[in-house]
């Protein structure tokens, strides 16, 4: 009985531990890793639904690299999640719908992951899903929204974390 209940718990633990190690290796600062959604500002946290996954942890990427890249168009957050054998990395940005600004941010985070975040990419087996949580300012014009889609950026007022991510899940 004890053995059966220990298995999922150890899996969740392994999930968190793996993500924590990857974050620490990538950012060279153990404080950048935060359990659950704690790295997210309160206002951002309520836009994330993590009820269907084990949270591996989160990183406030913007804050963590601000001193090293003060002028960059930095990306807000990375969130790790696990479910069964799957591991998923979510990039979440809270911003107004501004395709050009978001294109720069997305390009920055992708480059950062390639240059510094390889441990995170390895942990997620290469797959990252990017979400924009739009703020009320600005106008979500149809063409702007289409621009974001062409960049591979999903838009949601509430990001529902699943692993594998929704709509990329292989169907039988």
């Amino acid at each position: 009985m004890a053995k059966a209940s220990a298995k999922p718990a150890s899996r969740a633990q392994a999930c968190q531990e793996g993500f924590r190690k990857a974050v620490t290796q990538a950012l060279e600062d153990p404080a950048c890793y935060q359990p659950g959604l704690r790295a997210l500002a309160k206002g951002a946290r309520k836009h994330v639904d993590a009820t269907r996954v084990h949270l591996a942890g989160s990183v406030a990427l913007d804050d963590c690299v601000a001193s090293r890249e003060p002028r960059a168009s930095r990306w807000d957050y990375l969130v790790g999640a696990c479910q069964e054998q799957e591991r998923c990395l979510y990039g979440i940005e809270v911003h107004q719908v501004d395709a050009r600004a978001l294109a720069n941010k997305l390009a920055w985070v992708k480059t950062w992951l390639q240059r510094h975040g390889r441990p995170l990419l390895r942990w997620a087996r290469g797959k990252v899903v990017y979400y924009l949580v739009p703020t009320p300012r600005g106008s979500a014009r149809a063409a702007e929204v289409r621009r974001l889609a062409q960049l591979g950026l999903r838009i949601a007022r509430r990001v529902s974390l699943t692993c594998p991510p929704e709509a990329t899940r292989r169907q039988a």
Binding site: A99, R141, Q150, R157, R170
Partner: protein
């Protein structure tokens, strides 16, 4: 019928179009404001491919005007278009010029039609008895494509064996692909059956609602009046071996009367035509049609790297369950073009906006021939009001 092919169409001096060259693919879509010549160009294209069959149809009903271009234009394009064809009108296909004389005096006689045309006026084909009008029932000066479409549907319906009282046309196990049929039956016709009823020897096309009541054409919803002729057109195309020459389908404004969800289901029918090998020309005022083209172009690109992901994209786009939709994969090999008919004073310029790239510098491309312009303006106004008047709307924040 070949796929992945392109046809070069060049026109000069046709209505407001001074000169234009277009590449027509397996699927080609025309967008643009009213009265910019989309329909006239589509009709001219049919005339180009089917001039012999068109002349034959007119002669069959005792009418000919080979020596009078004005009268012919009146009869073919419709009343008010007598001056549409001029001595300077030029059309060419893949570089082969066809002059007015050839259109009016085609060398070949008795050729079968290559272009099946579903006109925007399709709801007008029904008589008050809920049956399509014969070709000869229309006036000279009613557009040929409307008269011909009505005649095709009428002859198709006349040929159906409906038994002594009634016969169900839709849903019918042997017509349309099952997943398409089920989708249209449940979401577009809402469980009603399209039925041919015999009443005192007179055939009528009725919608039978669950419970047994029968609705004649005038009692159908607007969407049903617009969609059912399209459905019957699809039936005509699959009629027994008689239309083998048809390789082009022109469908005008499929969105008429339809809720966007019903339009998405109708677009599945268009993809079925493409899958069967037909080349399709659409004219539209609906951004949803371009949404489909845009999504399909990205799915096609993805298919080269990750076919399974592309399959999933197709299913997601059309809300199909995992067991369905493999037939849609045929669209991966199809060529697609989109043209914007831009009014410029008294002239019209035709722009290729096929890439539909939202990042394109040209707003005609990024905003899809300005189809989304009003929606964008409304969004800007709401944002401006919210910012200026401190009216922050609820966003589900606690």
């Amino acid at each position: 019928m070949s796929t992945g092919t392109r046809l070069r169409l060049h026109v000069e001096s046709l209505a407001l179009i001074a000169r234009a060259t277009l590449t027509l693919g397996d699927l080609t879509v025309f967008v643009g404001p009213q009265a910019t010549g989309k329909s006239l160009l589509l009709q001219a294209f049919k005339l180009l491919l089917d001039s012999a069959a068109i002349q034959q149809r007119f002669r069959q009903y005792g009418w000919a005007a080979e020596d009078d271009p004005r009268l012919f234009a009146h009869a073919y394009f419709g009343e008010g278009y007598a001056d549409l064809l001029s001595p300077t009108t030029q059309v060419s296909l893949n570089g082969q010029a066809v002059g007015l004389a050839t259109l009016l005096h085609p060398k070949a006689r008795g050729e079968e039609e290559r272009v099946f045309y579903i006109p925007a006026q399709r709801a007008l084909i029904f008589q008050h008895v809920s049956w399509p009008r014969p070709f000869s029932d229309f006036r000279l000066g009613d557009p040929f494509v409307v008269r011909a479409f009505s005649e095709h549907i009428r002859t198709y319906l006349e040929a159906q064996d409906v038994g002594p009282e009634a016969g169900v046309l839709f849903p019918h196990a042997r017509r349309l692909r099952a997943c398409l049929r089920d989708r249209l039956a449940s979401r577009l016709l809402r469980g009603t059956q399209l039925t041919i009823v015999r009443e005192m020897g007179q055939k009528r096309l009725m919608l039978e609602i669950p419970g047994g009541a029968r609705l004649p054409y005038l009692s159908w919803s607007t969407g049903q009046r617009e969609f059912i002729p399209v459905l019957l057109g699809s039936y005509w195309l699959s009629g027994r071996g008689s239309h083998r020459a048809v390789d082009w389908i022109i469908a005008e404004e499929l969105e008429l009367g339809l809720h966007p969800q019903a339009l998405a289901d109708t677009l599945l029918l268009v993809l079925d035509w493409l899958q069967q090998g037909y080349r399709v020309l659409l004219s539209t005022h609906s951004a949803d049609v371009l949404e489909m083209v845009w999504a399909l172009s990205h799915i096609r690109r993805c298919a080269q790297r990750d076919p399974e992901q592309a399959r999933q994209g197709l299913r997601l786009l059309f809300d199909l369950p995992p067991s369905q939709g493999t037939w849609l994969e045929a669209i991966w090999t199809k060529t697609v073009y989109v043209y914007y008919f831009a009014p410029l004073g008294h002239r019209v310029a035709i722009h290729d906006i096929s890439n539909l790239d939202a990042w394109d510098e040209d707003p005609a491309v990024a905003e899809w021939g300005y189809l989304t312009q009003f929606a964008d303006r409304a969004t800007r106004v709401v944002a401006l009001m919210a910012e200026s008047c401190g009216e922050v709307l609820a966003h589900g924040e606690g």
